[in-house]
Amino acid sequence: MNRFKIWQNFLISTVLFVGIIFSLPNFFPTNPALQVASSNSSIFFDASAKEEIEKLLKKNNVIIDKIENVENALQITLKSVNDQLTARRLIADYSNGEFIIALNSVATTPNWLKDLGGKPLNLGLDLAGGVHFLLEVDTERYSTERLSSEGASLLEEFSKRGINSNYKSSRDEITLNFTSLNNVTEAKKYLDQNNFSVSGSKYDLIQNENSINLRYTSNYLAEIVDYAVDQNLVALRNRVNELGVSEPIVQREGKSRIVVELPGVQDSASAKKIIGKTANLEFRLEAKSNASFLRKDKFFYKNQPSSSAFLEKKIILSGDSVTNAQSSFDENGRPQVNISLDISGGRAMQEATKDNIGRRLGVLLIEEKTKTFFDENNEVLQESYVEKSIISNATIQDVLGTSFRITGLSNSYEASDLALLLRAGALAAPMKFVEEQTIGPTLGQENITKGLNSVIIGFILVFIFMLIRYRLFGIAANFALIFNLVLITAVMSLIGATLTLPGIAGIVLTVGMAVDANVLIFARISEEIRSKSEVQLAIKNGFSKAFGTIMDANITTLLVALILYAIGTGPIKGFAITLSIGIVTSIFTAILVTRGIINIMYGYRKVERLNI
């Protein structure tokens, strides 16, 4: 007789039960919602702002289900998708580009399911709509910037030793020019003493007749870029969190890139403004009034573009040294910003400030911007440029170290803005956008419908075919197929995998291929019957003989799916995930679940003839 032992039946039922529980959250409807965050930290969503927005929506007949503060953002739950789109337009017009508005949906998972850890599937951008960016460290500019700064400090060291020099930077190297051969030798001696030319060190150094060329070795450059990408990752996460978008993705990709995905966000321009604010910070001393123009630069203030100040060319430290910045109030209740630096930053700050108490220390914000304008033929022109402006220029009261504060700010808004800029503006290396994708909400919804329809149609076709071809055995296989879909959904929801359109295609493909295991088993059983085996024995042998083939075939496909996952990006990864999960669950359902059902059908009675 073909019967499973009690523990085997128990195991199968348990897996199926758990599978059903964790796939359940996907069957509850979601409510359309808006998430509104400010791109400017000085706007808070206090009670009055909330009221104002509520009034605005009500006036335009938008029915609000719920409106509440979630972290930095305002979350408005609505009754219909139409209202959601209307509300987005209304709030966008009202905010005049100051708000970042994300369309999202709020799950209505009941609490008991939530307590069990149940949550619906994460939808990828192609299903949820949203923006996707790929940013890359601008290695060339990064090395030029770093080298120029080092060149400036070298010049200072040289002039202390009476060596006259200046420097010029180009692409990825700087050239130190000297007035005499003697100076070159002296300078080279200094560089040698300070380990500039040790082999395997940071620099490639070429000595010419009256100049020295300095550039980073490729190893060292790779090292600092690697470090910078990690730092930028943290900074970008902070920025994205300021946006208040739910379920954002900020991930490193490869050696020098970072992926940012913001589900539901439609306005790529404002999102880019915040994320792509490829801003960097530089701390520089204010130049002495008698300093040579070679040693200083003129900058305007960010808040008062009409006034300006001269800062030294030498950079004390850049934004990557800032580990934190918070606005607060001093003992007299005046706004201030507390800044923390990392250890090397603290050391550099101490070095720079110890002899300069009473002078001013400027903080420069470097932003990369794009200008769009029309020429006389009404053609669109775009130009990107770098804007550097002073966000703070305060007097040094003391020797500064790893933590210090900026006081004398006019109000708390200015303080929180400055803190945000210091915190979020801290990109270790300049980055540029290399990929950009925006998917509208209607396209996302359309893709969900298309995906679901293909799963349903594919499923029904296979279902009918199996029923006609294999009758009772077909029913067993079809049950296994249903459980397979349930398990795939459960596993994906449980591990928080993201479902994409190619991912759905992977599920559809799994439906078609999963029955292969059953087809193999049924073919074996009918072969056994034909060679005059007794029915129960035929079933038993059919399953065990097909087992090896099923394993071989599935393991190799799984290997391919894993390779797909490893090399793939975006759509390929989504496909590989569902394919891999589908292969594993289909082995389980096609072998164990089908067997269990067939055991129930035939295992408890004497069967004379088998219709297969």
Partner: protein, 303 residues
């Protein structure tokens, strides 16, 4: 059932050779119509309320200083796809086109916009090629480990055969080859292998079986007849779901499902003709099986 498959073997090899030759020639002289993922560039999908006036769009964006705009319907006649290559720094981008159309008062709803730097596309191309090679290599190792090297040759020959023919069809019919088609191609590698392994498994079983006698040819024919129905049924169910994807999956999954459907047909065919031809060419005998008798068939029992 008793079909003398091995008799048609040479015909199969002839047909395959011709197809592969045509595929290679087409790829050499015509190339593949690579998608945006691989070439880099900008694409925009715009949905209009009614039938879109492509000429109006063309004349509007022709004011932008860029010669290579492609404007076409995508999926339906109210949906438009605009593709173009830009310069290195992407000075002309999606925003430029949107602004221009807006100025000329003919902008629908932008449902999707995508910008990819050429250098990223180039990298993806390399990665894709490497992925297919790695996949083939890993499989070869697995098949040699689980079966025997002659089966490995057979499986790989079938894989290369399938991949080349699909690439050829994409090249000849100018079908856009993008990232999702690459994914499909790798899935085909998996599927084709699946078939080859089921066939190989049966051949091995019959070769190892001491009760079965006869020439290699007879044993292989016996095995093919045993698995033939299964191959047909599985290909059929897989084709059923692919038809569902083609009907309901929309434009994005069209070429993906097409590539897979071709893969299923070509893969089933190659598992029967190509794998077997290689096994016959390499003179697979019962003796080969004895050498690899360390094979763990018994350890795979269910109860």
């Amino acid at each position: 059932m008793n079909i003398p498959f091995t008799k048609f073997n040479n015909l199969g090899v002839f047909i395959s050779s011709v197809l592969i030759l045509i595929s290679i020639l087409s790829m050499l002289f015509k190339g593949l119509a690579l998608g945006l993922d691989f070439t880099g560039g900008v694409s925009l999908e715009i949905k209009y309320e009614q039938k879109a006036d492509l000429e109006r769009i063309r004349s509007s964006i022709s004011k932008i200083e860029n010669s290579n705009f492609v404007v076409l319907n995508f999926g339906s006649d109210d949906n438009v796809l605009i593709k173009f290559q830009s310069d290195e720094d992407l000075n002309i981008n999606a925003q430029t086109v949107i602004v221009q159309l807006k100025n000329d008062n003919y902008l629908g709803e932008v449902t999707k916009s995508e910008t990819i730097f050429p250098q990223i596309g180039e990298e993806l191309r390399d990665k894709g090629g490497i992925a297919i090679l790695v996949a083939i290599l890993v499989i070869l190792v697995y098949v040699i480990f689980r079966f025997q090297i002659k089966f490995g040759y057979g499986a790989i020959a079938a894989l290369v055969h399938d991949v080349l023919i699909i690439l050829g069809i994409f090249s000849i019919f100018n079908l856009v080859f993008d990232l999702s088609v690459l994914a499909a191609l790798l899935a085909v590698v998996g599927y084709s292998l699946n078939d080859s392994i089921v066939v190989s498994d049966r051949i091995r079983e019959n070769f190892v079986d001491k009760n079965k006698h006869g020439s290699s040819d007879t044993l292989i024919n016996l095995s093919l007849n045993q698995v033939f129905l299964r191959t047909i049924v599985t290909s059929f169910t897989t084709l059923l779901v692919l038809v569902a994807l083609l009907i309901a999956g929309g434009e994005v999954l069209k070429n993906f499902s097409l590539a897979l459907a071709m893969g299923v047909v070509v893969g089933s065919y190659s598992s029967i003709f190509i794998v077997v031809k290689i096994l016959l060419l390499t003179n697979l005998t019962k003796k080969d099986m004895e050498k690899s008798s360390n094979e763990p068939e018994e350890s795979y029992s269910m109860d």
